[in-house]
Amino acid sequence: MTDLASPTQPAAPSGADTIDTIDALAGLQAGSPLAAIRHARDKVALHTQRSEDALFDPALPDLSLQERLFAAWYAARLSLADDLADAYTAKLITTGAQPTTLDAIEAGTLDAIEAGTLDTTTDARLIAILSHVKLLTIKPVEARPEHLQTLQQTGITTRGIVALSQLIAFVTYQLRVVAGLKALRAAQEAA
C-alpha cells in the first residue's frame, strides 16, 4: 500500500479493439469512446481479466469449479446484479448444474438459509459455501472465526477458504465496475 511501480507481469496489448469479460458485461463496443477510456487503464483491465481467469481456473484443486460458480452466481444475485448472475448461471449449466437445481436453490435453499431452517444433510458443503457467500456479500463486518470453522468442518481447506473469499470479494468488485461502466455508457448515449 505504498508506491509500487507496476504490476507483476508485463502488460499484454489490451487495446480498445479487444473485448474482455467486463466489456461484454457492460455492453462496451470495441473501438467505442468508453472502451477507449477503459483500456487506457490497461493494467487494471489486464489484471482484472487475469484475476477472473485465476479464480475460475478449472485446475484449481481446492474448490470445484461448480462450487466456485455457485458462489459467484449467488454473490451476484444477492447484489441484484441480475445480468452478471445470469452469466454465471450459463457457466454453471455448462458444468452440469441442472437449471432445476438452481431454481430449487433460489426458491428453497436460499430462503432456508435466511430462515435458518435448512436441512443440512442434503449438501452440507455447498450450503456452507452459500451461507458464507451471503455473509461476505451482505454483512462482511459480522464475520467471525467461527464462520471459517464452519467451512473447515465441511472439508474445505485453508487454501480453499482463501480462494472462496477472494472469489466472492472479486465478484463484488466486478459487479461494481460493470455498474459504473453501464452508468457511464447511459450518460454518453444520452448526451
Partner: protein, 203 residues
C-alpha cells in the same frame, strides 16, 4: 498528521474509526517464509513492501496466482499516474471502508489521504457521518457516489454520472473513481472476514 482519536476518550466522536496505525491478525494459517516456494516469495515481493511480515499477505499467498493478479489490479488502480487525483482515490477508498465497517482499511487510507492532501478534515467528517461528509461540492459528490456504488450498485445510473460531471469530473476520472470504490468492495471483504485488526493499546 494529527492523532484525532484516542481509545481513552469517553465519547468516541469517530465511531470507532481511527487514524492510528493498526495491526492485523489472520484467523487461518499463514505461509511461513521458510516454507514458501520461490513463486510465493516473488508474489509477496511484488505485492507490498512489507508483505513478508504481514499476516494478510502471508495468508493470501496460500493462493499465490490469485494474490499476484489481485495485487496487479490494486496497485494499478491506486497508484497509476494521471486521471483522478490520488488523494481523491484515497478519499473514496476511505468512504467505502467506513460504510463497510472496515476499521483497519479505513485507518490505512485515512493516513494516506492525509499524506497526499496535507489535511484530514474530510476524513474526520467521513468517520463521523459519511452521508454529510465533504469539505467542497466536489468532495461531497465523490462521497455520495462512493456510498451509492457501495450500498446500491444496481441503482447507479446516468444521473449519478451527471452529478459528478457537474463537479468537474471527466469520464476518465469517473472511471478511476469507480475503480477505487470497487477495489475496496474487494479489499474490505478480505480484511473483514479472514482476520481482525490489532489495536496498539491492546498488546
Amino acid at each position: 498528521m494529527s492523532q484525532v482519536n484516542t481509545s481513552a476518550s469517553p465519547v468516541d466522536p469517530l465511531n470507532g474509526f481511527t487514524f492510528d496505525t493498526l495491526g492485523w491478525r489472520a484467523w487461518l494459517d499463514t505461509v511461513s517464509l521458510a516454507g514458501a516456494t520461490p513463486e510465493q516469495i516473488a508474489v509477496l515481493e511484488e505485492s507490498h513492501p512489507h508483505a513478508k511480515t504481514s499476516d494478510y499477505y502471508l495468508l493470501l499467498v496460500q493462493q499465490e496466482e490469485i494474490l499476484w493478479q489481485r495485487s496487479g489490479v490494486f496497485n494499478a488502480i491506486m497508484y497509476a499516474p494521471g486521471g483522478l487525483p490520488r488523494a481523491e482515490r484515497e478519499l473514496a477508498s476511505t468512504v467505502v471502508s467506513r460504510v463497510n465497517g472496515c476499521v483497519y482499511c479505513a485507518s490505512v487510507h485515512a493516513q494516506r489521504f492525509g499524506q497526499l492532501a496535507k489535511r484530514t478534515d474530510a476524513i474526520e467528517q467521513v468517520f463521523e457521518d459519511p452521508s454529510s461528509a465533504g469539505t467542497t461540492e466536489r468532495e461531497r459528490a465523490i462521497i455520495r457516489y462512493a456510498i451509492e456504488l457501495t450500498d446500491h450498485p444496481e441503482g447507479v445510473d446516468a444521473a449519478a454520472i451527471k452529478r459528478l460531471e457537474a463537479n468537474g469530473l471527466t469520464h476518465a476520472e469517473i472511471l478511476d473513481l469507480t475503480h477505487a470504490i470497487a477495489i475496496f468492495a474487494w479489499a474490505n471483504r478480505l480484511m473483514l472476514t479472514l482476520g481482525e485488526p490489532v489495536f496498539p493499546h491492546a498488546e
